[in-house]
């Protein structure tokens, strides 16, 4: 079955309203939809909802031989699947659809190549036995921005997952303990990379946060930025045809950093709550509980809020610049289909203009903001890099 053709009316309406700073679902250009996270009974199983977009993630692990190139590391494999459940035109099986492959690849770069999972701790006996992690992501409902939703689901599932403990006996033998014998061991995560997607409109001048399925289809390009809570950029991807300015990318990455910080906080708070409940011996009823409370929002125009994440307040940036750590990698900004591969770039802002910053997100997203950005931003990156080190926005 083919996807329903996009009507000219919808296309021009979305384009026109974006120019006026309006969106079809009444959000601001920089507003995200409500985020919800629900953990299942098993470790590492989670439903993530972003507006009406719903994703189910499950982490599983198994023992196997390591790769010969990295004999003392476990592996992590990510599999995103979008079937007819996500949207009627999608199909399962081979060949995989382009959008599915793309999400898979970006997630792999975000989670694997940023080395956020401590793979060395997954090694049992070097060159013989390591844990293989597998993250299965099933897209349940595709209402746009599956990218962010799957990324949050994957990170939350990894943070929630626990593997069985293993004791090595020295002579190449080992014992896998059942949960009854020894507590399960969590996976070590160095940092939580979060994807933040912007759809670009008006010749790459207007970024729109958290696009819906309709906005995704109308937009010229989509910019995915994966940032962790330390404001380190883990992956960047620009797909589509749009001439984007570096200024815009910087601005977006700053907003993304703030968004990411809030989401990580949110994930951690929900994890803590879950942990506390489990410690008390209340095994969560799993998804049954979330249904009983009617927490799964059924329609995106329903105002059922699970745990609302406000749109980023820029106030945070000024203060967070103090605890931002310097990283020592380079940044490459190329135009179409840009890829930064596993390198981190730090995005900070100068402290003094925190007050005027508050206006920033709205500003950047209207056409007028191009002419008169009030703030001055700096990008600190590696001194040894051959690229430009500091970009001053004007």
């Amino acid at each position: 079955m083919r996807e329903t053709i996009l009507s000219n009316n919808e296309k021009s309406f979305v384009e026109k309203s974006i120019l006026e700073g309006l969106r079809v679902d009444k959000r601001n250009l920089n507003e995200f939809r409500n985020l919800g996270l629900f953990f299942g009974q098993d470790v590492g199983s989670v439903i993530c909802t972003l507006g009406a977009t719903k994703v189910f993630a499950q982490v599983s692990c198994e023992l196997s031989s390591p790769r010969t190139s990295r004999p003392n590391e476990g592996t992590i494999f990510i599999n995103v699947e979008m079937g007819p459940m996500a949207a009627p035109h999608l199909e399962v099986g081979f060949p995989l659809s382009d959008s599915c492959i793309q999400i898979n690849r970006i997630l792999e770069r975000t989670l694997r190549e940023s080395r956020c999972v401590d793979l060395e701790s997954l090694c049992i006996i070097a060159e013989e036995k390591v844990w293989n992690l597998r993250v299965d992501i099933a897209v349940l409902n595709h209402e746009g921005n599956v990218m962010d939703c799957s990324c949050i689901a994957a990170v939350a599932a990894l943070a929630h997952f626990k593997r069985p403990d293993v004791t090595t006996t020295g002579d190449g033998e080992f014992i896998i303990h059942s949960p009854a014998e020894k507590d399960l061991v969590p996976i070590v995560l160095h940092h939580y990379p979060i994807c933040v997607t912007y759809a670009l409109f008006d010749d790459g001048k207007i970024p729109v946060a958290d696009p819906t399925a309709l906005e995704e289809r109308v937009s010229e390009a989509s910019l995915v930025l994966a940032v962790n809570s330390y404001k380190e950029l883990c992956c960047m991807n620009l797909t589509g045809v749009s001439l984007t300015s570096p200024h815009l990318i910087l601005r977006c990455s700053e907003m993304a950093a703030e968004r990411s910080r809030r989401i990580v906080e949110f994930i951690k708070s929900i994890l803590e709550e879950d942990e506390a409940q489990r410690a008390k011996g209340n095994l969560p009823k799993g998804f049954a509980e979330s249904i009983a409370l009617s927490n799964l929002p059924s329609n995106f125009h329903n105002e059922e809020i699970v745990e609302k994440i406000e749109q980023p307040e820029i106030v945070g940036i000024a203060e967070s610049s103090s605890h931002g750590e310097t990283s020592d990698d380079e940044v490459k900004i190329i135009d179409d289909n840009t890829v930064t591969s596993g390198k981190w770039i730090e995005v900070t802002s100068e402290d003094e203009d925190s007050s005027s910053d508050e206006e920033m997100p709205e500003q950047t997203n209207t056409r007028t903001s191009q002419d008169a950005p009030k703030t001055e931003k700096k990008l600190h990156s590696n001194e040894s890099s051959e690229e430009e080190k500091t970009i001053v926005l004007k």
Binding site: T4, N9, S12, V24, H301
Partner: protein, 243 residues
């Protein structure tokens, strides 16, 4: 098991109400969700059987149907639908109407159209049309003229926004009991076209108003009839900014 009018019914139940009807009207019209002889060689085959989930309704004199939820459109004759032109061939536009296959719309099925004078409609345009042929074994056929060859309010829809919703919402909006559109029109002028195939098109003089209209209509799905004025008030408040 027998289903009663006004109650919920599930597939497999039989309609027995007709027996109690006065004998002068023998004819019973079965609407959506009721069928005869679905199970061959069943001893109960003379009784109509419910095939959908919902509430059994009856309209005078003897029309029975099941009020059920549905999102996918199944073409039926004389329905007014909103379609998107997907392809143009030699004689036809092929139009997506949210059904299992595209419907055919002849170039000649427009007011004043001739072989030479073809309507100017492009791929991706919206058309409001009527279903003239609907049969499970054939592709549905559409027209943009009424029986007198006049355009009426059929034809291409320009500007505005089209959105998908459940077929029930369209029925609800069009229902006489639902005063939503009436109340909305008192607040502000706007254009609205409801296609029974689960698509609604709205347009007004400002984008913001159109967006708010769309939102209000979608909200109506879970709003009882008597509370429609509330959501219209909310709409007015949001539109003017004055509570």
């Amino acid at each position: 098991m027998a289903a009663c009018v006004g109650n919920s019914c599930i597939p497999g139940e039989t309609l027995q109400e007709e027996r109690q009807e006065s004998s002068d009207i023998r004819k019973v019209v079965l609407g959506d969700g009721l069928r005869c002889n679905i199970v061959a060689s069943s001893e109960e085959h003379s009784l109509p059987v419910i095939t959908k989930n919902g509430i059994l309704r009856r309209r005078k004199p003897n029309i029975y149907y099941v009020d059920s939820y549905q999102k996918r459109y199944i073409p039926s004759k004389n329905d007014s639908v909103i379609g998107i032109v997907t392809t143009k061939t030699l004689d036809f536009f092929w139009v997506d109407i949210n059904a299992s296959e595209p419907a055919a719309l002849s170039y000649l099925a427009f007011e004043g159209a001739t072989k030479k004078n073809r309507p100017e409609i492009n791929v991706g345009d919206l058309v409001f049309c009527k279903v003239v042929l609907a049969h499970p074994d054939l592709e549905p056929e559409l027209v943009c003229v009424d029986s007198t060859g006049k355009k009426g309010n059929l034809g291409q829809l320009n500007d505005g926004i089209m959105f998908s919703c459940s077929i029930n919402l369209v029925r609800k909006v069009l229902n006489e009991k639902c005063r939503l559109l009436h109340l909305l029109s008192k607040e502000t002028p706007f254009e609205l076209v409801a296609g029974i195939n689960g698509r609604i098109w709205v347009n007004s003089n400002s984008l913001r108003k159109t967006i708010l209209l769309r939102d209000t209509i979608l909200k109506a799905e879970h709003t009882p009839y008597e509370e429609m004025s509330n959501i219209v008030n909310d709409f007015a408040t949001e539109l003017t900014g004055i509570p």
